[in-house]
Protein backbone atom coordinates (compact mmCIF):
# COMPACT_ATOMS: atom_id res chain seq x y z
CA UNK A 1 0.00 0.00 0.00
CA UNK A 2 2.81 2.44 0.76
CA UNK A 3 3.85 2.05 -2.86
CA UNK A 4 0.51 3.53 -3.83
CA UNK A 5 0.81 6.33 -1.34
CA UNK A 6 3.43 8.34 -3.23
CA UNK A 7 1.49 9.57 -6.24
CA UNK A 8 -1.40 10.46 -3.94
CA UNK A 9 1.00 12.62 -1.97
CA UNK A 10 2.09 14.34 -5.17
CA UNK A 11 -1.56 15.18 -5.80
CA UNK A 12 -2.01 16.55 -2.35
CA UNK A 13 1.13 18.65 -2.80
CA UNK A 14 -0.35 20.15 -5.95
CA UNK A 15 -3.50 21.21 -4.14
CA UNK A 16 -1.52 22.55 -1.22
CA UNK A 17 0.66 24.59 -3.57
CA UNK A 18 -2.50 25.96 -5.15
CA UNK A 19 -3.79 27.05 -1.75
CA UNK A 20 -0.50 28.71 -0.83
CA UNK A 21 -0.13 30.48 -4.16
CA UNK A 22 -3.74 31.68 -3.96
CA UNK A 23 -3.19 33.12 -0.50
CA UNK A 24 0.05 34.73 -1.64
CA UNK A 25 -1.49 36.31 -4.71
CA UNK A 26 -4.51 37.62 -2.84
CA UNK A 27 -2.15 39.36 -0.41
CA UNK A 28 -0.07 41.12 -3.09
CA UNK A 29 -2.21 44.31 -3.16
CA UNK A 30 -1.69 44.69 0.58
CA UNK A 31 2.07 44.61 0.15
CA UNK A 32 1.95 46.78 -2.94
CA UNK A 33 0.11 49.38 -0.92
CA UNK A 34 2.61 49.17 1.94
CA UNK A 35 5.43 50.22 -0.39
CA UNK A 36 5.69 54.01 -0.68
CA UNK A 37 4.27 55.18 -3.96
CA UNK A 38 7.22 56.39 -5.98
CA UNK A 39 9.73 53.66 -5.17
CA UNK A 40 8.75 51.19 -7.86
CA UNK A 41 7.56 53.55 -10.57
CA UNK A 42 5.01 50.98 -11.62
CA UNK A 43 1.49 50.12 -10.69
CA UNK A 44 1.83 46.58 -9.36
CA UNK A 45 -1.90 45.95 -9.05
CA UNK A 46 -2.59 47.18 -12.57
CA UNK A 47 0.18 45.00 -14.02
CA UNK A 48 -1.02 42.03 -12.00
CA UNK A 49 -4.52 42.34 -13.46
CA UNK A 50 -2.99 42.14 -16.92
CA UNK A 51 -0.85 39.19 -15.81
CA UNK A 52 -3.94 37.42 -14.49
CA UNK A 53 -5.71 37.96 -17.80
CA UNK A 54 -2.74 36.54 -19.69
CA UNK A 55 -2.62 33.65 -17.20
CA UNK A 56 -6.13 32.59 -18.25
CA UNK A 57 -4.81 32.12 -21.79
CA UNK A 58 -1.52 30.52 -20.81
CA UNK A 59 -3.02 27.94 -18.44
CA UNK A 60 -5.19 26.66 -21.30
CA UNK A 61 -2.40 26.91 -23.85
CA UNK A 62 -0.14 24.89 -21.58
CA UNK A 63 -2.73 22.08 -21.53
CA UNK A 64 -2.70 22.11 -25.33
CA UNK A 65 1.04 22.56 -25.91
CA UNK A 66 2.65 21.17 -22.79
CA UNK A 67 0.39 18.24 -22.04
CA UNK A 68 -1.26 17.24 -25.32
CA UNK A 69 1.84 18.15 -27.37
CA UNK A 70 -0.05 20.17 -29.97
CA UNK A 71 0.93 23.69 -30.97
CA UNK A 72 -0.97 26.90 -31.53
CA UNK A 73 0.71 30.04 -32.81
CA UNK A 74 -2.63 31.77 -33.17
CA UNK A 75 -4.16 31.96 -29.73
CA UNK A 76 -4.37 35.75 -29.90
CA UNK A 77 -7.28 35.04 -32.27
CA UNK A 78 -9.30 33.43 -29.48
CA UNK A 79 -8.17 36.14 -27.06
CA UNK A 80 -9.53 38.65 -29.57
CA UNK A 81 -12.77 36.79 -30.24
CA UNK A 82 -13.52 36.80 -26.52
CA UNK A 83 -12.71 40.51 -26.25
CA UNK A 84 -14.71 41.59 -29.31
CA UNK A 85 -17.71 39.42 -28.39
CA UNK A 86 -18.28 41.03 -25.03
CA UNK A 87 -17.26 44.49 -26.29
CA UNK A 88 -19.78 44.38 -29.14
CA UNK A 89 -22.57 42.93 -26.99
CA UNK A 90 -22.07 45.37 -24.12
CA UNK A 91 -21.73 48.51 -26.26
CA UNK A 92 -24.35 47.75 -28.91
CA UNK A 93 -27.07 46.03 -26.90
CA UNK A 94 -28.43 48.45 -24.36
CA UNK A 95 -28.30 47.10 -20.83
CA UNK A 96 -26.65 43.83 -21.86
CA UNK A 97 -25.31 42.22 -18.67
CA UNK A 98 -21.53 42.43 -18.80
CA UNK A 99 -20.98 39.12 -17.00
CA UNK A 100 -23.06 37.43 -19.69
CA UNK A 101 -20.89 39.15 -22.30
CA UNK A 102 -17.80 37.59 -20.72
CA UNK A 103 -19.39 34.15 -20.72
CA UNK A 104 -20.53 34.64 -24.31
CA UNK A 105 -16.96 35.60 -25.25
CA UNK A 106 -15.59 32.39 -23.76
CA UNK A 107 -18.35 30.29 -25.30
CA UNK A 108 -18.07 31.76 -28.80
CA UNK A 109 -14.30 31.41 -28.63
CA UNK A 110 -14.68 27.74 -27.68
CA UNK A 111 -17.21 27.19 -30.46
CA UNK A 112 -14.92 28.71 -33.08
CA UNK A 113 -12.10 26.67 -31.58
CA UNK A 114 -14.18 23.58 -32.28
CA UNK A 115 -14.98 24.63 -35.87
CA UNK A 116 -11.36 25.41 -36.63
CA UNK A 117 -9.82 22.67 -34.52
CA UNK A 118 -11.69 19.83 -36.14
CA UNK A 119 -10.00 20.14 -39.54
CA UNK A 120 -6.76 21.80 -38.42
CA UNK A 121 -5.80 19.33 -35.70
CA UNK A 122 -5.43 16.57 -38.27
CA UNK A 123 -2.18 18.32 -39.09
CA UNK A 124 0.94 17.63 -37.13
CA UNK A 125 4.10 19.49 -36.17
CA UNK A 126 5.16 22.28 -38.53
CA UNK A 127 1.97 22.00 -40.52
CA UNK A 128 -0.16 22.59 -37.46
CA UNK A 129 2.09 25.49 -36.46
CA UNK A 130 1.66 27.07 -39.91
CA UNK A 131 -2.10 26.56 -39.93
CA UNK A 132 -2.58 28.14 -36.50
CA UNK A 133 -0.30 31.00 -37.50
CA UNK A 134 -2.59 31.55 -40.48
CA UNK A 135 -5.61 31.42 -38.21
CA UNK A 136 -4.16 34.21 -36.07
CA UNK A 137 -3.50 36.34 -39.13
CA UNK A 138 -7.00 35.77 -40.54
CA UNK A 139 -8.59 36.75 -37.24
CA UNK A 140 -6.45 39.91 -37.06
CA UNK A 141 -7.47 40.94 -40.57
CA UNK A 142 -11.13 40.27 -39.80
CA UNK A 143 -10.92 42.41 -36.66
CA UNK A 144 -9.56 45.20 -38.88
CA UNK A 145 -11.85 44.80 -41.85
CA UNK A 146 -15.27 43.95 -40.38
CA UNK A 147 -15.60 47.65 -39.66
CA UNK A 148 -19.34 47.63 -39.05
CA UNK A 149 -18.90 45.14 -36.26
CA UNK A 150 -15.45 45.82 -34.83
CA UNK A 151 -14.95 49.47 -35.57
CA UNK A 152 -11.97 48.69 -37.81
CA UNK A 153 -8.55 49.99 -36.78
CA UNK A 154 -10.17 52.49 -34.43
CA UNK A 155 -11.71 49.66 -32.41
CA UNK A 156 -14.39 49.82 -29.78
CA UNK A 157 -14.43 52.45 -27.06
CA UNK A 158 -16.34 53.00 -23.82
CA UNK A 159 -16.65 49.36 -22.89
CA UNK A 160 -18.49 49.36 -19.55
CA UNK A 161 -16.78 47.90 -16.48
CA UNK A 162 -17.64 44.34 -15.60
CA UNK A 163 -20.39 43.92 -13.05
CA UNK A 164 -21.67 40.69 -11.59
CA UNK A 165 -25.05 40.75 -9.85
CA UNK A 166 -24.77 44.43 -9.02
CA UNK A 167 -21.16 44.17 -7.90
CA UNK A 168 -19.19 46.60 -10.08
CA UNK A 169 -15.55 45.79 -10.86
CA UNK A 170 -14.65 49.32 -11.82
CA UNK A 171 -11.26 49.69 -10.11
CA UNK A 172 -8.02 47.81 -10.73
CA UNK A 173 -8.07 46.48 -7.19
CA UNK A 174 -11.56 44.99 -7.48
CA UNK A 175 -10.72 43.55 -10.87
CA UNK A 176 -7.50 42.16 -9.44
CA UNK A 177 -9.35 39.93 -6.99
CA UNK A 178 -11.90 38.83 -9.56
CA UNK A 179 -9.32 37.98 -12.22
CA UNK A 180 -7.05 36.06 -9.89
CA UNK A 181 -9.90 34.08 -8.37
CA UNK A 182 -10.81 33.10 -11.92
CA UNK A 183 -7.19 32.16 -12.67
CA UNK A 184 -7.04 29.97 -9.58
CA UNK A 185 -10.32 28.31 -10.56
CA UNK A 186 -8.88 27.55 -14.02
CA UNK A 187 -5.72 26.23 -12.37
CA UNK A 188 -7.78 23.95 -10.14
CA UNK A 189 -9.68 22.68 -13.16
CA UNK A 190 -6.42 22.02 -15.00
CA UNK A 191 -4.82 20.22 -12.08
CA UNK A 192 -7.90 18.03 -11.77
CA UNK A 193 -7.75 17.27 -15.47
CA UNK A 194 -4.10 16.37 -15.73
CA UNK A 195 -4.03 14.06 -12.75
CA UNK A 196 -6.97 11.96 -13.88
CA UNK A 197 -8.07 9.84 -16.82
CA UNK A 198 -8.26 12.69 -19.33
CA UNK A 199 -4.83 13.99 -18.39
CA UNK A 200 -3.26 10.57 -18.82
CA UNK A 201 -4.89 10.36 -22.24
CA UNK A 202 -3.46 13.76 -23.21
CA UNK A 203 0.02 12.88 -21.99
CA UNK A 204 -0.19 9.52 -23.77
CA UNK A 205 -1.08 11.14 -27.08
CA UNK A 206 1.78 13.61 -26.59
CA UNK A 207 4.22 10.74 -26.20
CA UNK A 208 2.96 8.53 -29.03
CA UNK A 209 -0.25 9.06 -30.91
CA UNK A 210 -0.19 5.57 -32.43
CA UNK A 211 0.29 3.89 -29.06
CA UNK A 212 -2.34 6.07 -27.40
CA UNK A 213 -4.81 5.17 -30.15
CA UNK A 214 -4.02 1.51 -29.79
CA UNK A 215 -4.51 1.67 -26.02
CA UNK A 216 -8.03 2.96 -26.52
CA UNK A 217 -7.58 6.73 -26.32
CA UNK A 218 -9.66 8.53 -28.94
CA UNK A 219 -6.81 10.87 -29.78
CA UNK A 220 -8.52 12.94 -32.48
CA UNK A 221 -11.41 13.72 -30.15
CA UNK A 222 -9.06 14.49 -27.25
CA UNK A 223 -7.07 16.89 -29.40
CA UNK A 224 -10.20 18.77 -30.46
CA UNK A 225 -11.54 18.88 -26.90
CA UNK A 226 -8.36 20.24 -25.38
CA UNK A 227 -8.12 22.78 -28.22
CA UNK A 228 -11.69 23.92 -27.50
CA UNK A 229 -10.90 24.17 -23.80
CA UNK A 230 -7.80 26.28 -24.45
CA UNK A 231 -9.75 28.47 -26.89
CA UNK A 232 -12.47 29.03 -24.30
CA UNK A 233 -9.88 29.92 -21.63
CA UNK A 234 -8.29 32.37 -24.08
CA UNK A 235 -11.71 33.82 -24.91
CA UNK A 236 -12.43 34.28 -21.22
CA UNK A 237 -9.10 36.09 -20.80
CA UNK A 238 -9.86 38.28 -23.80
CA UNK A 239 -13.30 39.22 -22.49
CA UNK A 240 -11.82 40.22 -19.13
CA UNK A 241 -9.19 42.19 -21.05
CA UNK A 242 -11.89 44.20 -22.86
CA UNK A 243 -13.59 45.20 -19.61
CA UNK A 244 -10.24 45.95 -17.99
CA UNK A 245 -8.92 48.21 -20.80
CA UNK A 246 -12.39 49.63 -21.61
CA UNK A 247 -11.07 50.07 -25.13
CA UNK A 248 -9.92 47.51 -27.68
CA UNK A 249 -8.52 47.66 -31.19
CA UNK A 250 -6.92 45.03 -33.44
CA UNK A 251 -3.40 45.95 -32.25
CA UNK A 252 -4.02 44.02 -29.02
CA UNK A 253 -4.48 40.79 -30.97
CA UNK A 254 -1.58 40.80 -33.42
CA UNK A 255 0.63 37.77 -34.08
CA UNK A 256 3.14 39.14 -31.57
CA UNK A 257 0.61 38.48 -28.81
CA UNK A 258 0.25 34.85 -29.93
CA UNK A 259 4.03 34.56 -29.84
CA UNK A 260 4.06 36.15 -26.40
CA UNK A 261 1.60 33.52 -25.10
CA UNK A 262 3.74 30.69 -26.48
CA UNK A 263 6.87 32.30 -25.05
CA UNK A 264 5.20 32.44 -21.64
CA UNK A 265 4.44 28.71 -21.83
CA UNK A 266 7.96 27.84 -22.97
CA UNK A 267 9.77 30.11 -20.51
CA UNK A 268 7.65 28.92 -17.60
CA UNK A 269 7.75 25.27 -18.51
CA UNK A 270 5.82 23.23 -21.03
CA UNK A 271 3.77 20.56 -19.33
CA UNK A 272 4.13 22.15 -15.92
CA UNK A 273 0.99 23.82 -14.69
CA UNK A 274 2.91 26.07 -12.29
CA UNK A 275 5.50 26.86 -14.90
CA UNK A 276 2.89 28.57 -17.05
CA UNK A 277 2.10 30.91 -14.19
CA UNK A 278 5.77 31.71 -13.63
CA UNK A 279 6.18 32.42 -17.33
CA UNK A 280 3.24 34.83 -17.31
CA UNK A 281 4.56 36.74 -14.30
CA UNK A 282 8.11 36.93 -15.65
CA UNK A 283 7.12 38.10 -19.11
CA UNK A 284 4.47 40.55 -17.96
CA UNK A 285 6.80 42.20 -15.48
CA UNK A 286 10.05 42.05 -17.44
CA UNK A 287 9.16 44.79 -19.98
CA UNK A 288 7.77 46.96 -17.18
CA UNK A 289 10.90 46.53 -15.11
CA UNK A 290 13.13 47.35 -18.08
CA UNK A 291 11.11 50.49 -18.72
CA UNK A 292 11.29 51.51 -15.08
CA UNK A 293 15.06 50.94 -14.83
CA UNK A 294 16.12 54.48 -15.81
CA UNK A 295 13.96 55.82 -12.98
CA UNK A 296 15.45 53.41 -10.46
CA UNK A 297 19.04 53.86 -11.49
CA UNK A 298 19.93 57.38 -12.57
CA UNK A 299 22.32 57.53 -15.50
CA UNK A 300 20.81 54.70 -17.51
CA UNK A 301 19.81 55.78 -21.00
CA UNK A 302 16.24 56.98 -20.93
CA UNK A 303 15.77 55.26 -24.30
CA UNK A 304 14.86 52.16 -22.36
CA UNK A 305 11.51 53.77 -21.75
CA UNK A 306 10.56 53.12 -25.33
CA UNK A 307 11.50 49.49 -24.79
CA UNK A 308 8.04 48.27 -25.79
CA UNK A 309 9.13 48.67 -29.42
CA UNK A 310 11.61 45.89 -28.87
CA UNK A 311 9.43 43.44 -26.95
CA UNK A 312 9.21 41.03 -29.85
CA UNK A 313 13.01 40.86 -30.01
CA UNK A 314 13.02 39.90 -26.36
CA UNK A 315 10.44 37.14 -26.89
CA UNK A 316 12.40 35.74 -29.82
CA UNK A 317 15.64 35.79 -27.88
CA UNK A 318 14.04 34.15 -24.86
CA UNK A 319 12.49 31.43 -27.05
CA UNK A 320 15.86 30.63 -28.62
CA UNK A 321 17.76 30.64 -25.33
CA UNK A 322 15.19 28.55 -23.47
CA UNK A 323 14.89 26.00 -26.25
CA UNK A 324 18.67 25.65 -26.20
CA UNK A 325 19.44 25.67 -22.51
CA UNK A 326 16.28 25.14 -20.52
CA UNK A 327 13.72 23.44 -22.79
CA UNK A 328 11.55 22.51 -19.84
CA UNK A 329 11.41 26.07 -18.61
CA UNK A 330 12.04 27.96 -15.41
CA UNK A 331 9.91 25.62 -13.32
CA UNK A 332 12.10 22.66 -14.25
CA UNK A 333 15.22 24.77 -13.74
CA UNK A 334 14.09 25.74 -10.24
CA UNK A 335 13.31 22.10 -9.48
CA UNK A 336 16.74 21.04 -10.63
CA UNK A 337 18.40 23.84 -8.70
CA UNK A 338 16.56 22.68 -5.58
CA UNK A 339 17.71 19.11 -6.19
CA UNK A 340 21.25 20.33 -6.74
CA UNK A 341 21.08 22.38 -3.56
CA UNK A 342 19.87 19.36 -1.63
CA UNK A 343 22.62 17.13 -2.98
CA UNK A 344 25.20 19.83 -2.31
CA UNK A 345 23.93 20.31 1.25
CA UNK A 346 24.08 16.58 1.86
CA UNK A 347 27.58 16.49 0.44
CA UNK A 348 28.73 19.34 2.71
CA UNK A 349 27.13 17.68 5.72
CA UNK A 350 28.87 14.42 4.95
CA UNK A 351 32.19 16.24 4.68
CA UNK A 352 31.60 18.02 7.97
CA UNK A 353 30.76 14.75 9.67
CA UNK A 354 33.84 13.13 8.19
CA UNK A 355 36.02 15.95 9.50
CA UNK A 356 34.49 15.64 12.92
CA UNK A 357 35.21 11.92 12.94
CA UNK A 358 38.81 12.60 11.88
CA UNK A 359 39.18 15.17 14.62
CA UNK A 360 38.47 12.61 17.28
Amino acid sequence: MDKLARPLDADRRNYRTLAIVTAFILLIPVWARAIPGDVLHMDIVNIMVLAGIYACVVVGLNLLVGYAGQISLGHAAFFGIGAYTTAILCTRVHGFPTWLGVLAGAALSGAIGWLVGKPVLRLKGHYLAMATLGLGEIAFILFQQLKGLTGGTVGIMDIPPLSIFGLKFDTDLKLYFLVWVIVMALMLLSINLIRTRVGRGLRALHSSEVAADAMGVNTSSYKVQVFVLSAAFAGLGGALFAHFQKYINPESFVIAISIMFITMVVVGGMGNIWGGLIGVLLLTFLPQVIQALPQWIPGLPSGLQSFSNYELVLYGLLLILFMMFLPKGVADGLGRAADFGEIRARHLRDRRNAKRLEGR
Binding site: K3, L4, R6, P7, L189, S190, N192, L193, T196, R197, V198, G199, R200, G201, R203, A204, H206, S207, S208, V210, A211, A212, D213, A214, M215, G216, V217, N218, T219, S220, Q225, V226, L229, G271
Partner: protein, 257 residues
Amino acid sequence: MMAAQTLLEIRNITKQFGGLAALKDVSFDVTAGEIKAMIGPNGAGKTTMFDVLTGILSPTAGEVSLKGQSIIGLRPDEITAMGMIRTFQTIQLFEGMTALENVMVGCHCRTRSGFISSGLRLPASRREEKQIKEKAMAVLKDVGLHTRANEIGTNLPYGQQRLLELARALASEPDIILLDEPAAGLNQYETGELATLLVRFRERGLTILIVEHDMGLVMQISDEIVVLDYGEIIARGAPQDVQNDPRVIEAYLGIEA
Protein backbone atom coordinates in the same frame (compact mmCIF):
# COMPACT_ATOMS: atom_id res chain seq x y z
CA MET B 1 -14.27 -30.96 -26.65
CA MET B 2 -16.16 -27.69 -26.73
CA ALA B 3 -17.23 -26.30 -30.05
CA ALA B 4 -14.38 -24.09 -31.11
CA GLN B 5 -15.61 -20.55 -31.55
CA THR B 6 -14.05 -18.28 -34.14
CA LEU B 7 -13.05 -15.04 -32.47
CA LEU B 8 -11.24 -13.27 -35.26
CA GLU B 9 -12.01 -13.84 -38.92
CA ILE B 10 -9.59 -12.54 -41.53
CA ARG B 11 -10.91 -12.80 -45.09
CA ASN B 12 -9.00 -12.05 -48.30
CA ILE B 13 -7.01 -9.16 -46.89
CA THR B 14 -4.95 -7.31 -49.48
CA LYS B 15 -2.89 -4.24 -48.68
CA GLN B 16 -1.19 -2.30 -51.46
CA PHE B 17 1.40 0.38 -50.85
CA GLY B 18 1.52 2.01 -54.27
CA GLY B 19 2.58 -0.81 -56.56
CA LEU B 20 3.80 -3.01 -53.75
CA ALA B 21 1.43 -5.57 -52.27
CA ALA B 22 2.39 -6.02 -48.63
CA LEU B 23 -0.46 -8.49 -48.13
CA LYS B 24 -2.04 -10.55 -50.88
CA ASP B 25 -5.40 -12.17 -50.28
CA VAL B 26 -4.60 -13.41 -46.79
CA SER B 27 -7.30 -15.34 -44.92
CA PHE B 28 -7.19 -17.13 -41.61
CA ASP B 29 -9.18 -17.48 -38.41
CA VAL B 30 -8.20 -17.21 -34.80
CA THR B 31 -10.19 -19.48 -32.53
CA ALA B 32 -11.16 -18.38 -29.04
CA GLY B 33 -8.69 -19.60 -26.47
CA GLU B 34 -5.84 -20.54 -28.80
CA ILE B 35 -2.35 -19.20 -29.19
CA LYS B 36 -1.79 -18.65 -32.87
CA ALA B 37 1.57 -17.62 -34.24
CA MET B 38 2.17 -15.66 -37.41
CA ILE B 39 5.73 -16.10 -38.61
CA GLY B 40 7.73 -15.32 -41.70
CA PRO B 41 10.93 -13.60 -42.79
CA ASN B 42 11.38 -9.86 -42.34
CA GLY B 43 9.14 -7.90 -44.68
CA ALA B 44 6.66 -10.74 -45.02
CA GLY B 45 3.79 -8.48 -43.98
CA LYS B 46 3.26 -9.52 -40.37
CA THR B 47 3.33 -6.06 -38.81
CA THR B 48 1.26 -4.72 -41.73
CA MET B 49 -1.33 -7.35 -40.85
CA PHE B 50 -1.32 -6.17 -37.23
CA ASP B 51 -1.73 -2.57 -38.39
CA VAL B 52 -4.72 -3.58 -40.53
CA LEU B 53 -6.26 -5.62 -37.72
CA THR B 54 -5.99 -2.77 -35.21
CA GLY B 55 -7.29 -0.04 -37.51
CA ILE B 56 -4.01 1.81 -37.99
CA LEU B 57 -4.06 0.94 -41.71
CA SER B 58 -7.15 0.24 -43.77
CA PRO B 59 -6.87 -2.69 -46.16
CA THR B 60 -7.10 -2.26 -49.93
CA ALA B 61 -9.51 -5.16 -50.03
CA GLY B 62 -10.87 -7.80 -47.70
CA GLU B 63 -12.81 -8.13 -44.51
CA VAL B 64 -11.96 -8.55 -40.84
CA SER B 65 -14.51 -9.40 -38.21
CA LEU B 66 -14.12 -9.65 -34.48
CA LYS B 67 -16.72 -11.66 -32.57
CA GLY B 68 -18.83 -11.70 -35.73
CA GLN B 69 -18.77 -7.94 -36.24
CA SER B 70 -16.90 -6.22 -39.06
CA ILE B 71 -14.17 -3.92 -37.79
CA ILE B 72 -13.01 -2.46 -41.10
CA GLY B 73 -13.20 1.32 -40.96
CA LEU B 74 -13.33 1.49 -37.17
CA ARG B 75 -10.86 3.69 -35.31
CA PRO B 76 -8.07 1.97 -33.36
CA ASP B 77 -9.61 2.98 -30.04
CA GLU B 78 -12.97 1.52 -31.07
CA ILE B 79 -11.34 -1.80 -31.94
CA THR B 80 -9.55 -1.77 -28.60
CA ALA B 81 -12.87 -1.18 -26.87
CA MET B 82 -14.31 -4.18 -28.73
CA GLY B 83 -11.74 -6.39 -27.06
CA MET B 84 -8.72 -6.61 -29.36
CA ILE B 85 -5.50 -4.87 -28.36
CA ARG B 86 -1.87 -5.04 -29.45
CA THR B 87 1.66 -4.46 -28.30
CA PHE B 88 4.40 -2.97 -30.46
CA GLN B 89 7.55 -4.35 -32.02
CA THR B 90 9.51 -1.34 -30.81
CA ILE B 91 8.50 -0.56 -27.27
CA GLN B 92 6.05 2.33 -27.14
CA LEU B 93 5.74 3.16 -23.47
CA PHE B 94 4.47 6.63 -22.63
CA GLU B 95 7.28 9.01 -21.76
CA GLY B 96 7.41 10.57 -18.34
CA MET B 97 4.75 8.25 -16.97
CA THR B 98 5.25 5.81 -14.14
CA ALA B 99 4.73 2.11 -14.73
CA LEU B 100 1.42 2.41 -12.91
CA GLU B 101 0.27 5.37 -15.01
CA ASN B 102 1.16 3.51 -18.20
CA VAL B 103 -1.09 0.65 -17.16
CA MET B 104 -3.77 3.11 -16.08
CA VAL B 105 -3.88 4.40 -19.67
CA GLY B 106 -4.64 0.83 -20.66
CA CYS B 107 -7.86 1.07 -18.62
CA HIS B 108 -9.02 3.93 -20.86
CA CYS B 109 -11.54 2.04 -22.96
CA ARG B 110 -13.23 0.49 -19.91
CA THR B 111 -13.77 3.85 -18.22
CA ARG B 112 -15.52 7.01 -19.32
CA SER B 113 -14.81 10.18 -17.26
CA GLY B 114 -14.52 13.05 -19.71
CA PHE B 115 -13.21 16.61 -19.59
CA ILE B 116 -16.09 17.95 -17.50
CA SER B 117 -16.31 15.13 -15.01
CA SER B 118 -12.51 14.98 -14.57
CA GLY B 119 -12.04 18.74 -14.50
CA LEU B 120 -14.67 19.27 -11.84
CA ARG B 121 -13.63 16.16 -9.91
CA LEU B 122 -17.20 14.93 -9.81
CA PRO B 123 -17.84 11.96 -7.50
CA ALA B 124 -18.16 9.61 -10.49
CA SER B 125 -14.70 10.61 -11.67
CA ARG B 126 -13.15 10.14 -8.23
CA ARG B 127 -14.72 6.72 -7.88
CA GLU B 128 -13.50 5.73 -11.30
CA GLU B 129 -9.96 6.96 -10.57
CA LYS B 130 -9.85 4.71 -7.54
CA GLN B 131 -11.06 1.73 -9.57
CA ILE B 132 -8.54 2.43 -12.33
CA LYS B 133 -5.70 2.58 -9.82
CA GLU B 134 -6.71 -0.66 -8.16
CA LYS B 135 -7.19 -2.41 -11.49
CA ALA B 136 -3.83 -1.20 -12.81
CA MET B 137 -2.08 -2.28 -9.63
CA ALA B 138 -3.66 -5.73 -9.87
CA VAL B 139 -2.50 -6.12 -13.47
CA LEU B 140 1.03 -5.02 -12.54
CA LYS B 141 1.03 -7.61 -9.80
CA ASP B 142 -0.14 -10.19 -12.31
CA VAL B 143 2.98 -9.74 -14.44
CA GLY B 144 5.20 -9.28 -11.38
CA LEU B 145 5.94 -5.56 -11.78
CA HIS B 146 4.03 -4.22 -8.77
CA THR B 147 7.24 -3.32 -6.94
CA ARG B 148 8.19 -0.99 -9.81
CA ALA B 149 4.78 0.73 -9.92
CA ASN B 150 6.08 4.23 -9.21
CA GLU B 151 9.14 4.13 -11.40
CA ILE B 152 9.13 5.89 -14.74
CA GLY B 153 8.25 3.19 -17.28
CA THR B 154 10.98 4.02 -19.77
CA ASN B 155 13.61 3.81 -16.99
CA LEU B 156 12.91 0.13 -16.34
CA PRO B 157 15.27 -2.55 -17.67
CA TYR B 158 14.42 -3.65 -21.18
CA GLY B 159 12.81 -6.95 -20.25
CA GLN B 160 10.56 -5.26 -17.73
CA GLN B 161 9.55 -2.65 -20.30
CA ARG B 162 8.30 -5.49 -22.51
CA LEU B 163 6.32 -6.87 -19.58
CA LEU B 164 4.96 -3.42 -18.84
CA GLU B 165 3.69 -3.10 -22.41
CA LEU B 166 1.99 -6.43 -21.96
CA ALA B 167 0.45 -5.29 -18.66
CA ARG B 168 -0.76 -2.05 -20.23
CA ALA B 169 -2.51 -4.03 -22.96
CA LEU B 170 -4.02 -6.49 -20.47
CA ALA B 171 -5.53 -3.64 -18.46
CA SER B 172 -7.98 -3.08 -21.32
CA GLU B 173 -9.50 -6.50 -20.50
CA PRO B 174 -9.07 -7.84 -24.03
CA ASP B 175 -10.52 -11.04 -25.46
CA ILE B 176 -7.62 -11.26 -27.88
CA ILE B 177 -4.19 -9.73 -27.69
CA LEU B 178 -1.84 -9.24 -30.64
CA LEU B 179 1.80 -9.47 -29.61
CA ASP B 180 4.36 -8.07 -32.05
CA GLU B 181 7.68 -9.77 -31.27
CA PRO B 182 7.27 -9.75 -27.49
CA ALA B 183 10.50 -11.70 -26.98
CA ALA B 184 12.69 -9.40 -29.09
CA GLY B 185 15.68 -8.37 -27.02
CA LEU B 186 14.87 -10.69 -24.13
CA ASN B 187 17.46 -13.12 -22.80
CA GLN B 188 16.76 -16.83 -22.59
CA TYR B 189 15.58 -16.69 -19.00
CA GLU B 190 13.21 -13.79 -19.67
CA THR B 191 11.84 -15.54 -22.77
CA GLY B 192 11.10 -18.59 -20.64
CA GLU B 193 9.27 -16.43 -18.11
CA LEU B 194 7.30 -14.83 -20.92
CA ALA B 195 6.29 -18.26 -22.27
CA THR B 196 5.03 -19.30 -18.83
CA LEU B 197 3.09 -16.05 -18.52
CA LEU B 198 1.46 -16.38 -21.94
CA VAL B 199 0.41 -19.98 -21.31
CA ARG B 200 -1.05 -18.88 -17.99
CA PHE B 201 -3.07 -16.15 -19.70
CA ARG B 202 -4.34 -18.59 -22.30
CA GLU B 203 -5.54 -20.90 -19.53
CA ARG B 204 -7.52 -17.97 -18.21
CA GLY B 205 -9.28 -17.68 -21.57
CA LEU B 206 -7.20 -15.05 -23.33
CA THR B 207 -6.70 -15.58 -27.05
CA ILE B 208 -3.28 -14.70 -28.38
CA LEU B 209 -2.03 -13.92 -31.88
CA ILE B 210 1.73 -13.65 -31.75
CA VAL B 211 4.34 -12.53 -34.26
CA GLU B 212 7.74 -13.78 -33.16
CA HIS B 213 11.15 -14.65 -34.55
CA ASP B 214 12.19 -16.75 -31.57
CA MET B 215 11.28 -20.16 -33.01
CA GLY B 216 11.88 -21.88 -29.70
CA LEU B 217 9.15 -19.79 -28.10
CA VAL B 218 6.81 -20.13 -31.08
CA MET B 219 7.14 -23.92 -31.22
CA GLN B 220 6.73 -24.22 -27.46
CA ILE B 221 3.54 -22.25 -26.94
CA SER B 222 1.54 -22.02 -30.16
CA ASP B 223 -1.37 -24.24 -31.08
CA GLU B 224 -1.20 -23.32 -34.71
CA ILE B 225 1.14 -21.41 -36.96
CA VAL B 226 0.51 -19.33 -40.08
CA VAL B 227 3.55 -18.67 -42.24
CA LEU B 228 3.66 -15.53 -44.40
CA ASP B 229 6.16 -14.78 -47.13
CA TYR B 230 5.99 -11.80 -49.48
CA GLY B 231 2.50 -11.05 -48.18
CA GLU B 232 1.07 -14.50 -48.87
CA ILE B 233 0.32 -17.47 -46.68
CA ILE B 234 2.72 -20.23 -47.71
CA ALA B 235 1.96 -22.72 -44.97
CA ARG B 236 -0.22 -23.28 -41.95
CA GLY B 237 -0.75 -25.98 -39.40
CA ALA B 238 0.53 -27.45 -36.15
CA PRO B 239 4.06 -26.41 -35.09
CA GLN B 240 5.78 -29.69 -36.01
CA ASP B 241 4.15 -29.80 -39.47
CA VAL B 242 5.13 -26.24 -40.28
CA GLN B 243 8.64 -26.82 -39.02
CA ASN B 244 9.21 -29.57 -41.60
CA ASP B 245 7.41 -27.90 -44.49
CA PRO B 246 9.87 -27.47 -47.37
CA ARG B 247 8.32 -24.16 -48.46
CA VAL B 248 8.86 -22.73 -45.01
CA ILE B 249 12.47 -23.89 -44.94
CA GLU B 250 12.98 -22.33 -48.34
CA ALA B 251 11.43 -19.02 -47.31
CA TYR B 252 13.63 -18.78 -44.26
CA LEU B 253 16.86 -20.15 -45.67
CA GLY B 254 16.46 -19.27 -49.32
CA ILE B 255 17.28 -22.81 -50.57
CA GLU B 256 16.08 -23.64 -54.07
CA ALA B 257 13.37 -26.26 -53.72
